[in-house]
């Protein structure tokens, strides 16, 4: 299964001036993400069942740990991103992130029934995820010529999402085949995760850039200094502002459930609908972004989100909301990395992406607090309307700023 650069081109004739070919390194990183996501989503799918039915624990106890671990993850993400640049060893830092998460699978079994130990393992798993995201995206952006970044990130995100969709199915198959042995799910998940790390070690090529001048060129100060670059600062501000008025998926699904119209037992299927649309559209929308411009596509994705909120306020059509959410992810998640990548000097690529991702994640955390407050004061419809209005203002504002500086 040697991954060649021409593989994606098999049987597909270029339909545009852009080539369908995706560099081997991107396919290798995509495969690592696919395999790792099978592993992690296997655990995600059965962990609540294992904790409640097998260990007799109360899931609400784990919710208390959430706020705490977010801060740690954010710090580790920033520090890891900067170290990857200082050493110019992005593959190593990403690999440590993948390795940490792999080790968490047997650790979940070793933690036994202790809530404190289980909470710690879950926090380490998240830290591993936080650690690897920025170096991985930096590797993708450094492996592809700038005009093909949208497509490359689209391919990566599609493979990633495909793995996430497969994970629960694999976990279910293991549970069925073993008569409900959760430990077998964790062990199989660990083996799959080790395969992911191995693929990373053997097939992903590091991108080590010669450092311009002294070591201080990659210091934390230099990393935060990236925000002095007007173009990158604008992207960070726009992403954070939009993040602040983006509802978390959990709220969207909750509001759909409140609208009713479908049986309670179908509630857990809602994220699958969004993921399926994301999977289908990630590559075509990424290619579109390369052709017509990434910022317009990124902003159009948020227009789709406004439409999703309006449908949620109005007729509440389930399929339309899920599809629009999927369009939003396809047009924004990888595309934002493709927007920011070329703006950042190669030797500080990881630090810059980590900064952008952390800013966005922090804004989304605050958005949940904000929406909760608006809901409490005025009700859910008004909350949705406020978020939609906020999105519209941010999209228009961003568009005018971009137009002025284009």
């Amino acid at each position: 299964m040697y991954i060649s650069a021409s593989r994606a081109a098999d049987g597909a004739r270029p339909r545009s001036r852009l080539s369908w070919a995706v560099p081997g390194n991107v396919l290798a990183l995509g495969t690592v993400s696919l395999v790792t996501d099978i592993s992690s989503e296997m655990v995600t799918a059965v962990l609540p069942l294992y904790l409640t039915l097998s260990l007799g624990l109360n899931l609400l106890q784990f919710g208390l740990l959430d706020g705490l671990s977010f801060g740690v993850t954010a710090l580790v993400r920033l520090a890891g991103g900067n170290l990857a640049d200082r050493w110019q060893r992005r593959k190593l830092v990403a690999g440590v992130g993948y390795g940490l998460s792999a080790l968490c699978k047997p650790a979940l079994l070793a933690a036994g029934g202790s809530v404190a130990a289980l909470g710690a393992v879950i926090a380490v798993d998240r830290t591993g995820k936080g650690l690897r995201t920025a170096p991985r995206d930096a590797l993708i952006s450094l492996s592809v010529p700038p005009d093909g970044l949208g497509q490359a990130f689209g391919v990566h995100r599609a493979m990633d999402t495909f793995g996430a969709l497969l994970g629960p199915l694999v976990a279910f198959a293991v549970l069925m085949g073993t008569g409900g042995a959760y430990d077998a799910v964790f062990v199989v998940s660990f083996c799959v995760a080790v395969l992911g790390v191995l693929l990373m070690v053997m097939y992903v090529r590091d991108q080590r850039m010669p450092l311009p001048g002294p070591r201080s060129a990659t210091s934390p100060r230099a990393a935060f200094g990236l925000l002095r670059e007007a173009a990158f600062r604008r992207v960070c501000v726009v992403a954070a502002a939009l993040g602040l008025v983006t509802l978390s998926d959990a709220f969207v699904y909750l509001l759909l459930q409140k609208r009713g119209g479908f049986g309670a037992e179908y509630f857990p299927l809602l994220p699958i609908g969004t993921a399926a649309v994301y999977l289908l559209l990630a590559v075509p929308v990424g290619r579109l972004a390369d052709r017509v411009g990434r910022i317009p596509v990124f902003l159009a994705g948020h227009v789709a989100l406004i439409a999703a909120y309006l449908v949620l306020i109005g007729p509440g059509w389930l399929v339309a909301v899920l599809a629009l959410q999927g369009v939003f992810y396809a047009a924004t998640d990888g595309v934002l990395m493709a927007v920011a990548g070329p703006m950042l000097p190669a030797h500080l690529r990881t630090s810059g992406l980590a900064l952008l991702q952390t800013g966005q994640a922090t804004a989304r955390l605050f958005s949940s607090v904000l929406f909760g407050a608006v809901w409490t004061m005025w009700g859910s419809t008004q909350g949705l309307a406020a978020m939609a209005a906020g999105l519209a203002v941010c999209v228009l504002g961003a568009w005018s700023v971009v137009r002025r500086h284009a």
Binding site: P48, A264, L270
Partner: protein, 325 residues
Amino acid sequence: MTPVRRLLVLLAALAVLGGAAAGYAAWAARRDPVPAQAGQTAQAGQGGVLRPGQLMFRTAAGRVAGVPLADTSAAPTGSGLACDRFSTGGGTSICLVARPGPVATTHAVILDRSMRETRRIKLAGIPNRARMSQSGRMASWTVFVTGDSYSEGGFSTWTGILDTRTGYAVTNIEDIPLTLNGRRYHAADVNYWGVTFAADDNRFYATVATKGKTYLVEGDYGRWQARTLRENAECPSLSPDGTRLVFKKRVSADPDRMWRLHLLDLTTMRETPLAEPASVDDQVVWLDERTVAYARGGDVWSVPADGSGAPAPLVRGASSPVAVR
């Protein structure tokens, strides 16, 4: 590494990892006896196990069984019914079963006196609490719903109530108008769990959580409204005479020592810690007017409900106890 050598390493790793995964799964499959088909109901006639004076519980293998309350070390009589949570009252039973599948769903099964299925309500999530009112009219349950992956955080509870006389079911009671500390309260994050009904099948008690705090609520099913009585009280269980509640009170931030069982006298609103020193995460059941039972550490225990005495093991390898009256 040359591409050929790399490929050989990869194939070898695939063989080792695949072998380890398959080997462990095969070993695990033989180690565990195949569990019963969840929610499978017993043949008519086996309902005889539901006799007054019996203590019903869920065995470690996931089956509902019973022993005489006067002699809990006797060999259990199986009912053949597989449940994750079980409760019974007035001849009607509720059985919550997690349904296997790539996503978590739960069925609430209502059974008649001879343990025949009369109603099945399909729910999202994972079984947490089940309770049948003394008369057998009001069934209630709580499930954990994970709308998103655990890495995103965010669990919620959905608590439902079924009036078996009218057949009307509410799968999530969180829209009930709530008065908190005397003021009408609206919030996105309200979660209810652990319902217990009074003998009139209208007044009920439950836990509501919002903004990181929990409250004991008193609800009126007919008027469809609820009000908080006090803070920090979870999983209430009303005594048969309706004058006292036993609940779990949060006493520590240490997740392994979080709760202690307390008694609340509803006339004086005075609370008394029970003699069980260990953390208990269960909604207790009353065996009579003086004693409660609960699951702890994989066994069912009992303790006097007035703070005196000491906990005593009732049934080993059991959970979800309920006394048949």
